[in-house]
């Protein structure tokens, strides 16, 4: 690698949590590894030295083409309000709306990467009546479009790469950036919402440590219960695309391991599920949203069957906050 790829990172209508999450990377040398992989962080609002005029000079050089912009990372949703003016976020020191800066820089970028669900789809900032008129780079919720329009392509020919998640996982970001730096990252590496398949080819359900409870439909009924969170507690892990329970968070964690529902935070419009987040909507006692690729009748039949076969240990532990019955040791020679 003879030249490093210039990376510029912008933050707008989000919480900054995707950057903070990136810093949780389990790399022993995060920035050293990124640079060794060929990525130079030209400017990042939370991490670089440059402030004020020095920082604006970097952005101006990239926007004018004087400096090569290889990867533009945008974190946070695009705030178009009020009434399309973009004044809900004027980039400090510039008198210009941030959405204007994003348009200018995206027009120059070799690759454009949306960091997190806000930049991808609008995310949490687009919830409710969406007072800030928030949207993503190329999506407004599930609808293609967004700030840059559905037909936007960066210089590489790719649309914006949506590293969705709320926050996004540090590994999803570093893997995506490294895949781009290694070359050959193409359309086939993106799923139907332009997310990198490297983490959306799995469901949150894969690797769930509550799987035994799921198998037997032994369900949690209240926070801190050990049982499956799907039937009552709002968990949508069987429909959410992400490898959270394979890759894990902060060493050994994930939402379901933390005792709370997967809210599908990698999916468009997760912020408006149409029901309270931690309560599963049901009709006649049956959860409305079942695994997407399984016939409903079969699911219900299997559930009824497995519920009747549930061992007492699993049934009792499901509604307790610790194992009240532990697995019995099997004596050698018995079957």
């Amino acid at each position: 690698m003879n030249t490093l790829l210039n990376v510029v990172w912008l933050q707008s209508g989000g919480c900054g949590g995707c950057t903070i999450s990136l810093l949780n990377s389990d790399s022993r040398d995060l920035f050293g590894s990124l640079e060794a992989a060929g990525l130079r962080l030209l400017w990042h609002p939370a991490l670089s030295q440059e402030s004020g005029a020095e920082a604006l000079e970097v952005l101006e050089r990239c926007a004018s083409g004087a400096e090569r912009l290889d990867i533009l990372c945008v974190e946070g949703s695009m705030l178009r309000g009020p009434r399309g003016t973009g004044r809900f976020h004027m980039l400090a020191g510039t008198g210009l709306p941030m959405i204007e800066w994003v348009r200018r820089l995206a027009a120059r970028a070799r690759h454009t990467v949306a960091i997190g669900s806000c930049a991808s789809f609008g995310g949490i900032t687009a919830a409710g009546a969406n007072p800030a008129e928030a949207c993503g780079l190329q999506y407004e919720g599930e609808l293609a479009g967004g700030l840059l329009g559905a037909r936007y392509r960066s210089d590489s020919g790719l649309p914006a790469v949506n590293v969705a998640g709320c926050p996004t996982h540090p590994g999803w970001v570093t893997d995506t950036l490294m895949a781009i730096a290694m070359g050959g990252f193409g359309p086939a590496d993106l799923d139907e919402y332009q997310r990198p398949r490297l983490y959306t080819s799995h469901l949150v359900h894969h690797g769930c440590n509550r799987n035994e409870y799921y198998e037997f439909k032994a369900s949690a009924e209240k926070p801190s219960d050990l049982g499956c969170l799907m039937e009552n507690m709002g968990c949508m892990g069987t429909q959410a695309h992400a490898d959270c329970n394979i890759r894990l968070w902060n060493g050994s964690g994930s939402c379901v391991r933390g005792g709370f529902a997967c809210v599908r935070c990698t999916e468009p419009e997760f912020e408006e599920p149409g029901h309270p987040f931690s309560r599963t909507p049901k009709v006649a006692g049956i959860p409305l949203a079942l695994p997407t690729d399984m016939p409903k009748a079969w699911f219900i039949a299997l559930s009824a069957l497995s519920k009747s076969a549930t061992p007492k240990r699993v049934r009792d532990n499901a509604v307790a906050d610790h194992q009240v019955v532990v697995p019995q040791a099997r004596k050698p020679g018995t079957r």
Binding site: Q11, G13, C15, G16, G17, I20, S21, L23, N24, S25, R28, D29, F31, L41, P45, A46, L47, S48, Q49, S51, G52, E54, A55, L79, P82, T85, F88, H89, M90, L91, A92, G93, M98, I124, T125, A127, G128, A129, P131, A132, C166, P167, K222, P223, S224, L226, L248, W249, N250, G251, S252, G253, C255, G258, G259, F260, P276, F277, S278, D321
Partner: protein, 482 residues
Amino acid sequence: MTRLVVGPFNRVEGDLEVTLDIAGGVVKAAYVNSPMYRGFEQILVGKDPLDALVFAPRICGICSVSQSTAAARALAQAMNIEMPENGELAANLVLATENLADHLSHFYLFFMPDFARDAYAGRDWHAAARTRFAALKGSATGDALPARAGFLNIMGYLAGKWPHTLAIQPGGSSRSVEEAERIRIFAMLIEFRGFLERRLFGDRLEAIAALDSEAALRAWMDGHAPDASDFRRFLAIADDLQLERLGRAADRFLSFGAYPLAGKPLFQRGVWDGRLSPLDPAQITEDETFAWMGGTGKPLHPSEGITQPNADKAAAYTWCKAPRLGGKTMETGALARQAVDGHPLIRDLVATSGGNVRNRVIARLLEIARVVPAMEQWCRDLKPGQPFCRQGAVPEEGAGMGLAESARGSLGHWLTVSRGRIANYQIVSPTTWNFSPRDAAGTEGPLEQALAGTPVGEGEQVPLAVQHVVRSFDPCMVCTVH
């Protein structure tokens, strides 16, 4: 008089613009603009009350658990439930993990890199500061980031993930802890202690926490060379640059009290302005005279606060409202927390030189030294097998106030529930206090006060002293306006 508009400010959380009126080489007046509005208080209206636990942490990615904590406490008050002992211990551990990780990020990633700048090339400590603290490249980044990430692995056990957990519930924690996990959490705490004692302090945490006066601090500092630890290096730089003379506001300090256990907080609640007085939350109001907000025009208590953005308001210069306690500005943060709690070193420093750039940084590091041993004790006190969460129901009609201390200071949520839905939700964050604009009386916010008199060098476009003052508050701009 010349006018300088400074922004974007790097190494603060979120976007910030400061307008400076400069004459005779010093700042005469400052106007602080929080330039981004998202509208959480509007988004939350009409939601199921428990959904606040999903939305509130997403106000901020760096104070995420603090926002969860305030929301859970507001809900708990409305639901009239209290956490069991394990719930309080787990919630304290989660909040303390976030707060200390934030203190560490502030020191190593946000604040110290400024001393690596070329502008300080003539100082005898500059080469060492550059090697150690240069943004992204300094050796400290390589030390502190893995130490921080390792420490935050506590979140993997207790919160599922960080930021944005749903583990903090009104009745406790959704995550119970097994005995093996309790031991692993303890192992992470002592590993973090090791990093702090080797690199940050060069001494036992207990020795730092026991420093009880400026004289004691000075004697400790003189005990070894500045390169013995990062804290000593900072103190030497602070001496050379006289950082204790920079960034003084009004020396009125607010703390909501932190880390409760069985009704008693580890750090007490109150107001310190040379003497201690109790906090009366009923005295809190928000003024919006200079905010792009179009409400009633008069200051309101947050329980009846209104958030109605108006980008065309002529006199306004920020999206941030101006919180006041009994009509007065308040500084909040680690310095305030430790002054209110009565730590003798901080009380002595504040009595001598007030709230300033140096003292704010010292208070943050002192707090790390005080809280890690408390965390070790909380971890010892966890009782696997005992309850972690009590259950309750949100009433159809009700209200609640949730007060918490984040790394950056006092955070309050005010919730009103009507017909089973959120009817009003108001948030007053630490940086809303610290970076507030002027109020109707024309009184400047704490940062605006602190910047007045700050020196500006000839031709400085981004005055360094101004940057030190701004960053000394560890601002979180995404919380400020929310």
